[in-house]
C-alpha cells in the first residue's frame, strides 16, 4: 500500500472525488468519456495543475479514473465477498472513498489535490444554498426547451441533433439566453456523469429517456413516414422533460457537467453510450451481479421511516404501472376510433353521393364532413392522451426506479459500514492473539502491523458510519423534495389533460350544432 492518506471529511453534496459507478436503472448510460478520445482531457500527470482552478473539479477528476472504472466493474462484483484484502484498495476505488484513488502515478499527487479542493466546497455550498433558497422562494428561474430535431449525416452513422435552449436569470450562467446543439448520446452522457457522482450518495437523479434501437434505425435509414416523425417527436419531448426535471434539482443544477452540457458549444462525445458497446455489456453484467448482491444484504433497519417509504414506493410503482397500461390502451383505442371514424366518413360521403333524394344526399355529405372533423379531434385527443398522461406516468415509473436505486445504495452503504465493523473486530482479535503469542522476535513487527491495520479500519468504520448517516439524511431530504415535485407534477399535468378533454367536448358541440339544422332541413 502506498502513502498513508488522510481522508478529508465527507462533504455535503460536492462529490469531487467520488467515482463509484452509478447504480441506476439506466442500463445503457455511458461511463464518462474516455481519456483517449476526449481531446481536452488532461494527462494524469498534469491533473494537479488543472485542479488548481477549483471550479472545474468535477469533470476532470472523474475523467481521470475512467480506466479504473472499467476494471472496477468486475472488481465490485467480487468486492463484497473478499473484504480482507487491503492491498487491493487503491484499485478498488469504486466505493465512495473520499480520496482520489486513481492509477498509481497520481497517488503521490493525491494529497495535494485534496488540500486544494478542500477550499472549493465553501464557494459551492454558498451558491448551492443560494439556489436552494431561490427554489423554495419560487424564484427558480430557468427554462429549458428542446426543439428543432435535425438529421445529421447519412446511413447508419446518421443521428438526430436537437437544439437545447436555456432561458435563465440565474447568475451562475454567463448569458441569460443561449442554445446549443446536442445529440441523444450527449444526453445519456450527461445522465451518466450525474448519476455516477450523485446517485450513490442518495440523490435522486432523474433518469434519461430510453434508447430505442428500432426507432433510431428507422430514422437513420431515412424512413420519412409518420411513425418515424412520431418517434422523433416523442424523443424530443422526453429529452425536454428530462432536462427540465434535472435543472429543477437544486444540487444537480449546480453541477459543472450540467452547465457544460447546457452552455458549451462543443461537447466531448460520450462513446460508451452505445447499447452494444463493451462498456454497455459490462454494465449489464455488473447490474446482474448487483441484483444478486442486493438479495443477500440483510439490513437491520433501525429507522422505520425508510422501511415505510420503501413500501410506499413499491405500492406506488405497481399502481402507476397499472394505470399506465390502461392509459396506453386508451391511446390505442382512441387511434383506432380515429381511423374508423375517418373510414366511416368516407363511406358516408359515398352513400350521400348515391342517395337520389337531394336534401338527404346533402345531409349525408354534411354528416361525412362532421365525422371527418371529429376524426381530427380524436387524433388530437390521442396525442394529448399520450404526451400528457401516458408519458407522465412512464416518466414517473422510471423515476421511482431511480428512487428505489437510491434506497439500495443506502443499503450498500450500510453493508460497507457493517463489513468494516466486522473486519475491525477481526483485526482486534488478531491483535489480541498476537499479544499472547510466544514468539518474542516476531511480536514487535507483528504488533506494529496489526496496530496500523486496526487504526485504518477504525477510520473506515467511522467513515462508514458517517457515510451512512449522510446518505440517510440526504435521502430523507430528497424523498421529501421528490414527493413535493411529484404532487405538483401530477396535479399540473392532469389538469392540463382534463383541459384538453374540455376542448374536445367544446369542439364536438360546435360540430354537431352546425350539423343539426342540416339534418332538420331534410324534406
Amino acid at each position: 500500500m502506498a502513502a498513508e492518506r488522510e481522508p478529508p471529511p465527507l462533504r455535503d453534496g460536492k462529490p469531487t472525488d467520488f467515482e463509484e459507478l452509478e447504480d441506476g436503472e439506466d442500463l445503457f448510460t455511458s461511463t464518462v468519456s474516455t481519456l483517449e478520445s476526449s481531446p481536452s482531457s488532461p494527462e494524469p500527470a498534469s491533473l494537479p495543475a488543472e485542479d488548481i482552478s477549483a471550479n472545474s473539479n468535477g469533470p476532470k477528476a472523474t475523467e481521470v479514473v475512467l480506466d479504473d472504472d472499467r476494471e472496477d466493474l468486475f472488481a465490485e462484483a467480487t468486492e463484497e465477498v473478499s473484504l480482507d484484502s487491503p492491498e487491493r484498495e487503491p484499485i478498488l476505488s469504486s466505493e465512495p472513498s473520499p480520496a482520489v484513488t486513481p492509477v498509481t502515478p497520481t497517488t503521490l499527487i493525491a494529497p495535494r489535490i485534496e488540500s486544494k479542493s478542500m477550499s472549493a466546497p465553501v464557494i459551492f455550498d454558498r451558491s448551492r444554498e443560494e439556489i436552494e433558497e431561490e427554489a423554495n422562494g419560487d424564484i427558480f428561474d430557468i427554462e429549458i426547451g428542446v426543439s428543432d430535431p435535425e438529421k445529421v449525416g447519412d446511413g447508419m452513422n446518421a443521428y438526430m441533433a436537437y437544439r437545447v435552449t436555456t432561458k435563465t436569470s440565474l447568475s451562475m450562467f454567463s448569458k441569460s439566453e443561449f442554445s446549443v446543439k446536442r445529440r441523444f448520446s450527449d444526453f445519456l452522457g450527461l445522465h451518466s456523469k450525474l448519476a455516477s457522482k450523485y446517485l450513490h450518495v442518495g440523490y435522486i437523479v432523474p433518469p434519461a429517456p430510453e434508447k430505442s434501437i428500432v426507432g433510431m434505425t428507422k430514422v437513420k435509414v431515412g424512413k420519412e413516414d409518420s411513425s418515424s416523425t412520431e418517434f422523433v417527436e416523442k424523443r424530443r419531448a422526453a429529452l425536454e422533460r428530462y432536462l427540465q426535471r434535472t435543472v429543477k434539482h437544486p444540487t444537480l443544477l449546480q453541477d459543472p457537467d450540467l452547465r457544460q452540457f447546457l452552455e458549451s458549444s462543443e461537447l466531448p462525445r460520450a462513446v460508451n453510450t452505445q447499447a452494444l458497446s463493451g462498456a454497455g455489456i459490462l454494465r449489464m453484467v455488473n447490474k446482474a451481479a448487483d441484483a444478486v448482491n442486493k438479495m443477500t444484504i440483510k439490513m437491520n433497519e433501525s429507522d422505520a421511516w425508510f422501511e415505510e417509504k420503501q413500501q410506499q414506493f413499491e405500492n406506488l410503482d405497481q399502481q402507476l404501472r397499472k394505470l399506465h397500461a390502461s392509459v396506453e390502451a386508451l391511446v390505442c383505442h382512441r387511434k383506432e376510433l380515429s381511423a374508423n371514424t375517418a373510414a366511416f366518413a368516407k363511406s358516408a360521403a359515398m352513400l350521400g353521393n348515391s342517395e337520389d333524394h337531394t336534401a338527404l344526399s346533402r345531409a349525408l355529405s354534411q354528416l361525412a364532413e362532421v365525422e371527418e372533423k371529429i376524426d381530427q379531434l380524436h387524433q388530437e385527443q390521442a396525442f394529448a392522451d399520450f404526451y400528457m398522461f401516458s408519458e407522465l406516468l412512464s416518466d414517473y415509473i422510471r423515476l421511482i426506479a431511480a428512487v428505489k436505486g437510491v434506497f439500495d445504495h443506502r443499503m450498500k452503504c450500510w453493508q460497507k459500514w457493517e463489513d468494516a465493523q466486522i473486519t475491525l473486530l477481526k483485526k482486534r482479535e488478531a491483535e489480541a492473539k498476537i499479544m499472547v503469542a510466544n514468539k518474542p522476535d516476531k511480536i514487535q513487527q507483528a504488533k506494529n502491523e496489526i496496530r496500523e491495520e486496526i487504526e485504518e479500519w477504525e477510520a473506515k468504520v467511522q467513515q462508514g458510519e458517517r457515510d451512512f448517516e449522510q446518505i440517510s439524511k440526504t435521502i430523507r431530504k430528497e424523498v421529501g423534495r421528490f414527493e413535493k415535485e411529484r404532487v405538483k407534477d401530477f396535479k399540473t399535468v392532469i389538469i392540463k389533460y382534463l383541459e384538453s378533454l374540455v376542448q374536445t367536448q367544446q369542439q364536438l358541440i360546435k360540430y354537431w350544432e352546425a350539423f343539426l339544422p342540416e339534418a332538420k332541413a331534410i324534406a
Binding site: 406506488l316 373510414a343 366511416f344 345531409a363 389538469i495 354537431w512 350544432e513
Partner: protein, 418 residues
C-alpha cells in the same frame, strides 16, 4: 314495451334493470318508429308488449288491438318465437300474389352469444381483479346484454308493424293466424334438406339476378331504380359495417375510461401525500364521463348503425322486388316468343295465347305495384334518415354538453383545491 330477460343472468340481472331509467325510455320511444315512419291506425295495431329470454330462446309476447271483423276479439296476445317470424316472412316471399311488393325484411336472429361469452370470461377472471372492478364490469356487461335484448325486441316489432301498415299484407291469412292462434304454430326450423334447397334457390336467384339485371329496362323509372338500388345497397352495406366498427371503438375507449377510473381510485386510496383527494376526484370524473361515453356509443349504434343495417335489409328487399319484376318480364318475353312460334307453326296457339296473357297481366300487375312500393320506399327512407340523423345530432349534443359540464365542474374543484 317492457323487457324482461329472465333466468339467464339470475337475480343480479334484475337489479340492473332499474339502472339508468333514461336509457330505457329513450330507447322505448325511439325503437318503435326506429326506421320506418309508420302511422298506426285503429284498424290494426300490433306491438310486442313483453319478452322473455330463456336459455337459447327468446319468447315474444305479440299484442294486437284491432277493430277488423277478421278477428274473434278486439284485443289479444300470443307468444311467438323467432322461427315463427321467419316462417311468416318466408310465406310472404313465396307467395306469388305478393311478388309486386317489397316484403318487409325479416328480423335478424337474436344473438346473445358474444354477450354470453363475455359474461363467462368475466366469471372466470373474477379472481384476478378487485371486487370493485368486477362489480363494475359485471354491470357493464349486464347493460350490454340488456341493450342487445331490447334491440332484438325492437327489430321483431318493427317487422310486425310494417306488415300491419301495408294495405295488402295486413290482410294476409298467415299473418292473422300468426297474430291470433294461441297455440304453438309448430313451425319447426327448417331441416337440413330444406336448408339445402333454400341454398340452391338463393344461388340460382343471384346467378339469375346477374343475367337479368344485364337487360336494360324500357321503362325509365325502373331503369333508374335498378341503377340506384344496386349502388345504394352496396354503399349502405359498407357504411353500415364502418359505422359498426366506429361505435365499437368508441365503446372500447369508454371501457378504458372505466379501468383508468379504477386505477386512479386505487392510487387515491393508497397515496401517502395530499394528492389523494385529487386522484379520488379525477377517478370519480372518469367513472362519470365513462358512462356518458358509453351512452354516446350506444346512441350512435342505435341511430346510425342500426338505421344503416335496417336499410341494408330493406334495400335488399327492394332489389328482390326488382328481380321478381325482371323475372316476370323475361317470362313475358319468352311467352311472346313462344306465341310467335306457335302462330308460325299453327300449333297450340290458344295455349300460348293464354300463357302470354297471363304473363302480361302478371308483369303489368307487378310493375304497377312495384312502382308504388319503390316510391313509398324512398319516402320511408328519407323520413327515417331525417328522424334518426336529427336525433343523433341532438343526442350527441346532449352528451357533449353533459361531458363538458362534468369536466368543468371537476376542474373547478381541482383548481380550487390546489
Amino acid at each position: 314495451t317492457r323487457a324482461c330477460a329472465g333466468p339467464l343472468l339470475g337475480a343480479a340481472m334484475m337489479e340492473g334493470l332499474d339502472d339508468g331509467p333514461d336509457f330505457l325510455s329513450e330507447e322505448d320511444r325511439g325503437l318503435k318508429a326506429i326506421n320506418v315512419d309508420l302511422q298506426s291506425d285503429a284498424a290494426l295495431q300490433v306491438d310486442i308488449s313483453d319478452a322473455l329470454s330463456e336459455r337459447d330462446k327468446v319468447k315474444f309476447t305479440v299484442h294486437t288491438k284491432s277493430s277488423l271483423p277478421n278477428f274473434k276479439q278486439n284485443e289479444f296476445s300470443v307468444v311467438r318465437q323467432h322461427e315463427e317470424f321467419i316462417w311468416l316472412h318466408d310465406s310472404f316471399v313465396e307467395n306469388e300474389d305478393y311478388a309486386g311488393y317489397i316484403i318487409p325484411p325479416a328480423p335478424p336472429r337474436p344473438d346473445f352469444d358474444a354477450s354470453r361469452e363475455k359474461l363467462q370470461k368475466l366469471g372466470e377472471g373474477e379472481g384476478s381483479m378487485t371486487k370493485e372492478e368486477f362489480t363494475k364490469m359485471k354491470q357493464e356487461l349486464e347493460a350490454e346484454y340488456l341493450a342487445i335484448f331490447k334491440k332484438t325486441v325492437a327489430m321483431h316489432e318493427v317487422f310486425l308493424c310494417r306488415v300491419a301498415a301495408h294495405p295488402i299484407l295486413r290482410k294476409d291469412l298467415n299473418f292473422h293466424v300468426f297474430l291470433e292462434y294461441n297455440q304453438d304454430l309448430s313451425v319447426r326450423g327448417k331441416n337440413k334438406k330444406e336448408k339445402l334447397e333454400d341454398f340452391f334457390k338463393n344461388m340460382v336467384k343471384s346467378a339469375d339476378g346477374v343475367i337479368v339485371s344485364g337487360v336494360k329496362d324500357v321503362d325509365d323509372f325502373f331503369e333508374h331504380e335498378r341503377t340506384f338500388l344496386l349502388e345504394y345497397h352496396n354503399r349502405v352495406k359498407d357504411a353500415s359495417a364502418k359505422s359498426d366498427r366506429m361505435t365499437r371503438s368508441h365503446k372500447s375507449a369508454a371501457d378504458d375510461y372505466n379501468r383508468i377510473g379504477s386505477s386512479l381510485y386505487a392510487l387515491g386510496t393508497q397515496d401517502s401525500t395530499d394528492i389523494c383527494k385529487f386522484f379520488l376526484k379525477v377517478s370519480e370524473l372518469f367513472d362519470k364521463t365513462r358512462k356518458i361515453e358509453a351512452r354516446v356509443s350506444a346512441d350512435e349504434d342505435l341511430k346510425l348503425s342500426d338505421l344503416l343495417k335496417y336499410y341494408l335489409r330493406e334495400s335488399q328487399a327492394a332489389k328482390d322486388l326488382l328481380y321478381r319484376r325482371s323475372r316476370s318480364l323475361v317470362d313475358y318475353e319468352n311467352a311472346n316468343k313462344a306465341l310467335d312460334k306457335a302462330r308460325a307453326k299453327n300449333k297450340d296457339v290458344l295455349q300460348a295465347e293464354t300463357s302470354q296473357q297471363l304473363c302480361c297481366q302478371k308483369f303489368e300487375k307487378i310493375s304497377e305495384s312495384a312502382k308504388q312500393e319503390l316510391i313509398d320506399f324512398k319516402t320511408r327512407r328519407v323520413a327515417a334518415f331525417r328522424k334518426n340523423l336529427v336525433e343523433l345530432a341532438e343526442l350527441e349534443l346532449k352528451h357533449a354538453k353533459g361531458n363538458l359540464q362534468l369536466l368543468q365542474n371537476c376542474l373547478a374543484v381541482l383548481n380550487g383545491d390546489t
